[in-house]
């Protein structure tokens, strides 16, 4: 049942994306507002899907937060992107930024819902995952990833608007808020992950590919923050840093599954 609700949410995001594209092309604010309403409706459906899955894990006897496998992480990642866009982007994000955000969320959710390689089955947890740190660590990391996605979207928008000499003040504010939010959440995610590793494996850091790539992502965003503070007007440079950061986020999430390690989803 939860997979049907989540697939429907993906379709609603497609509708929101279409509205944002129309609003951006035709410069119709009313259409953009309708797009936001549809995106919020999609988020409500998405939240219901996650809640339903959580209930279903209990009914299946597994009884855990739906954050334990690749399917569940994709669903939560896409939810985080839209949720943070609603929280951070309200009054700041314009239709083109919104279009990018719902497109990312939609692609993630569609991949989870319609890809044959992602198993949506509810499975019981292995002993190492039976920890309160699971929720804290996964939630902070994925919210951090999502905030970085928003930072990239707003960074590209700011750079593009700066080149075309159009004002980008709301997007610049969104860039700063999402970059800082992502940095705080991701740093908390790394620290809670280290604490959990200390409990489960007896060491807080072991240079596992996931840990190494999390550090790479953190180093890149630390650099981006320094660039932003040192040269706030260098929009091209910050957009480049955010692009590299986003690539690193994607590799930290997807890429390391192809490297041997303790964090692999497959």
């Amino acid at each position: 049942m939860n997979t049907r609700v989540l697939s429907t949410a993906a379709v609603v995001y497609v509708a929101a994306f279409a509205l944002f594209v129309v609003a951006s092309a035709a410069r119709k604010k009313a259409v953009g507002k309708a797009g936001v309403a549809v995106a919020v409706a999609g988020l409500v459906l998405h939240t219901a899907g996650i809640a339903l899955r959580w209930v279903e894990t209990y009914l299946a006897g597994a009884g855990h937060a739906p954050l334990s496998n690749f399917y569940e992480s994709l669903v939560f990642f896409s939810w985080s992107v839209v949720f943070l866009a609603v929280v951070i982007g309200r009054g700041r994000a314009r239709s083109e930024a919104w279009a990018s955000v719902v497109l990312v969320a939609c692609l993630l959710l569609a991949y989870a819902s319609f890809s044959g390689s992602v198993d949506p089955a509810i499975r019981p947890l292995i002993p190492a995952l039976k920890s309160d740190w699971l929720v804290i660590h996964v939630v902070t990391c994925f919210m951090g990833y999502a905030a970085f996605v928003l930072a990239s979207v707003s960074g590209f928008t700011v750079a593009r608007r700066a080149r075309s000499s159009r004002g980008a003040q709301p997007e610049a504010a969104m860039l700063d808020v999402s970059l800082k939010t992502g940095y705080v959440l991701f740093s908390v995610g790394i620290v809670t992950g280290s604490l959990w590793a200390h409990m489960a494996w007896g060491r807080y850091w072991g240079w596992d590919p996931k840990e190494t790539w999390a550090l790479i992502t953190w180093l890149i965003y630390t650099t981006a923050l320094h660039v932003r503070v040192r040269a706030p007007g260098a929009t091209g440079r910050i957009a480049l840093m955010l692009g590299i950061g986003l690539a690193s986020v994607l590799f930290t999430y997807f890429g390391v599954n192809y490297l041997p390690g303790l964090h692999s989803y497959q």
Binding site: P124, A128, K130, S131, A200, R203, L215, T223, H226, S248
Partner: protein
């Protein structure tokens, strides 16, 4: 992060400080560390182990190669540089604040009629929210009133950079510790850990397995497992602890965690010999000393050998492999299907060794407890650094430091001017018109 001007004298010391507090250099080193980490996941790593016994020149070459990135001079050097740079930034920031270089007043100039302290402060109190702390004082140029809220945010850079320094220092201290594993058979005891690369590290006390239990899901996957372990030190009562996944125990400064288990089987063998019957419970690799005369090694334990039931392969210690005995639990049944097999195939004969008859009474599952063993003297430093860093970014990103500075030139005889400036998180922002109006109207007219 650098704020304010750096001493620009041409001395080597000034140049070094400029490099250390330079944000551009810091960015370069952060990216260098990122690139080295990428290299470590792309290039197959062959970490150096003390047990490898490499010659010093080979070890030196290895320390500058990318075969062991995380122990290379490049990685350690860049990490130490960043830590030193953080310290330099903190010192520079602190000294700049003390000398007042950061808080120079420049801003909007407005005319005021007077300069008395109480009216100015009263006006500021009237217009600014109660969270502002107002500090007014006279100096040789006139009256200066500094109004601030969120002053605690000024600690953020110190906490962030100090946190990074502690994490790097703690991580370097880990080199003084060790990391390894201990594999314990049920009832077995060990007093040394096997480090990566095979080096054996004595612990100074014994670790004994008192039992292991595993609960399983219907599909056979482990649901939960735990090991009961005793820590035995000479002259002291053994300390008994239960280890579960995600619940490590700290003993004598060493952290023991339940990192896994191996499943194996033990055979129960009875031997009838000249001195009577004896029973042994043995696993693969064990030696059965029957009576001091006959000694056999257990080479293999099988639950079901080619659908002929449980079986154990024994080889006499010091003897030929050809003199082995395949001891089957259901030898009578095999004999009934293949009459005379124990006579034609000598290695199937339980009485192969003259004067002794072996009986395989059964095979039962046995578990090997695998413990992670880690002594890390820097772990508390890293934990403190991480907490400090998180507190720092929390302060830096969540707290807003706002400052309104008003300077009134009291030396002017008639028309006095006030310089009003406002900063938010160190950046100049326009001053509210309401504040300026209140200052103009009541900032000094009644002095």
């Amino acid at each position: 992060m650098r704020q304010g001007a750096v001493e620009t004298k041409g001395s080597w010391r000034a140049r070094l400080i400029r490099v250390l507090v330079s944000v551009r250099v810091t960015e370069a080193f952060l990216l260098l560390l990122a690139v080295l980490c990428v290299a470590a996941t792309v290039i197959p790593q062959t970490p150096y182990r003390p047990g490898d016994g490499l010659a010093i020149p080979v070890r030196a070459v290895m320390s500058v190669s990318l075969r062991d990135v995380f122990h290379s001079l490049w990685f350690l050097g860049a990490s130490v540089f960043l830590a030193v740079s953080c310290v330099a930034c903190m010192v520079f920031r602190f000294s700049a604040r003390r000398t007042g270089a950061v808080s120079a007043v420049s801003g909007r100039v407005i005319p005021v009629a007077g300069s008395g302290t109480p009216p100015v402060v009263d006006s500021l109190r009237k217009i600014l929210p109660p969270a502002y702390r107002i500090d007014a004082r006279h100096d040789r140029d006139g009256l200066v009133a500094v109004c601030e809220r969120g002053r605690i945010r000024r600690l953020a850079p110190y906490a962030i950079h100090g946190g990074v320094v502690l994490v790097v220092a703690g991580a370097l201290l880990a080199f003084a510790g060790f990391k390894g594993t201990i594999a314990l058979t049920e009832g077995g005891m060990k007093s040394a850990a096997t480090l990566l690369g095979g080096t054996v590290m004595p612990l100074g006390f014994g670790v004994r397995s008192e039992g292991f239990s595993v609960e399983r899901y219907p599909d056979g996957m482990p649901r939960e497992y735990s090991a009961e372990v005793s820590f035995v030190k000479d002259g002291r009562r053994p300390v008994r602890r239960v280890l579960r996944v995600n619940h490590p125990v700290l003993v004598e400064g060493i952290l023991f965690s339940l990192s896994g288990f191996d499943e194996t089987h033990e055979a129960v063998i009875a031997v009838m010999g000249p001195r009577g019957a004896r029973r042994f419970t043995v696993g693969e690799g064990s030696v059965v000393d029957v009576d001091g005369v006959l000694r056999v090694r257990v080479v293999r334990v099988e639950q079901d050998m080619m659908r002929m039931g449980p079986c154990v392969r024994l080889v006499p210690v010091g003897g030929d492999e050809e003199d082995d005995l395949w001891l089957f639990g259901r030898i009578e049944r095999i004999e009934s299907v293949h009459p005379g097999i124990t006579r034609s195939v000598r290695r199937f004969d339980p009485s192969r060794y003259p004067g002794y008859t072996f009986v395989l009474e059964g095979i039962r599952p046995s578990y090997i407890t695998v413990l992670g063993v880690n002594r890390d003297p820097g772990v508390w430093l890293v934990a403190t650094g991480a907490c400090l860093f998180l507190a720092g970014i929390g302060l830096g990103f969540l707290v807003v430091h706002e400052r309104v500075t008003v300077r009134i030139d009291t030396a002017a005889p008639a028309i006095r001017t006030a310089v009003v400036s406002r900063t938010v998180n160190g950046s100049a922002v326009p001053v509210d018109d309401g504040l300026l109006r209140v200052l103009k109207e009541g900032g000094g007219g009644r002095s």
